[in-house]
Symmetry: C2
Subunit: 210 residues, 2 copies
């Protein structure tokens, strides 16, 4: 099935959103935890976290100018910090439910039953049930003119991973940690490792190392 | 295992790259096809494609200022167009091999055995073996001051998906298309759907629809 620009523009908006959200491939499933200056917490599922660099350790994320994610954006801009927590198979339902349009005064932690986990000196809540979680400090914020989305760059200042998932070479077995992947707007996937590939070199054929 | 900023900064650079690349969660595995003005083709695996919006249909990607990805960047800036092709389980080895530092005059298509598929009037090659592929037109390019990476925004002007993977509501079953996910620098994963969730509303409990 081939869609041109004109075909895509002519689609029903829900159909178009489901289609276009499927086209980038599998997406990471993360919960972004924030708090306002009074410490009132907020939690939102975000599928747009992307690696920007390792030294310094930077992750970017895209926030749509939507009512739900706006509370998250406001808190990040107010406090300069946030947490990123992997969604694991144990918490798919609660994680997805954070996308509901709760009123500002209601915390998605309380509404979904996920636990707040605070680390002394860090002004945003982590998700108690998450197996992999990071404390982030905002480094840069741009609003993209092309469609009004917000592009936030943050530095990882804290990272917690289960010891049994951490390889000798630094690679984390996020499948063993229960981390799931997202596709489209609403589909959650478990994974199994097919291949780990050796570093690619022009004069060597591709080689699986495990 | 808890890492602070200081811990991360003190790590061996390869260990740090493996660790930090694992922390964003599962990543999409895509091949980006380009050509220069003479039609010489180039292909690079990119794990940073991210959905930016559906109307207009926009995807962004991050390109590191590395030798391999630079050919891709130069071609995109020269011609204003590129293709994004999902990596499926059938082509993991060839896709990974495109990350090798081939000299500029050697096409990664020829080097890895992947086929070029050209659509009349579109100046970048698609991957013949890919089941889901898109033709992109560059809309915006920013070089990020924080670490020199390039942020490219493109509009989907062509999208091809297998008919049997396209749902009545527009969602694409990318697992059925064979699309794989990436973790870290080099690990490829197959997926299985755990849950598709209904649209989240504050006054309804989370509900799986399939």
């Amino acid at each position: 099935m081939l869609f041109t620009s004109n075909d895509i523009a002519a689609l029903d908006s829900r159909y178009r959103a489901a289609l276009v959200n499927s086209l980038s491939g599998f997406k990471p499933a993360n919960l972004v935890g924030t708090a306002n200056h009074s410490g009132a917490s907020n939690l939102a599922i975000i599928s747009s976290v992307v690696h920007l660099g390792s030294h310094p350790p930077l992750l970017a994320l895209i926030i749509r100018p939507s009512p739900v994610e706006r509370h998250t954006l406001e808190n990040i801009l107010d406090t300069g910090c946030y947490t990123i927590n992997h969604v694991s198979d144990q918490i798919i339902e609660a994680a997805h439910q954070t996308a509901a349009r709760y009123p500002r005064e209601q915390s998605e932690f309380a509404a979904t039953g996920l636990g707040e986990y605070w680390i002394d000196g860090f002004a945003a809540p982590f998700v108690a049930e998450a197996t992999i979680r990071m404390g982030m400090e905002l480094r840069e914020h741009k609003q993209l003119e092309i469609n009004g989305t917000h592009f936030l760059i943050g530095e990882i200042v804290l990272a917690e991973v289960p010891g049994h998932c951490l390889g000798d070479d630094g690679a984390v077995d996020i499948c063993a940690a229960g981390t799931v992947a997202l596709s489209g707007l609403d589909s959650y996937y478990g994974t199994r490792r097919l291949r780990r590939m050796a570093y690619a070199k022009p004069d060597l054929p591709p080689t699986a190392i495990s």
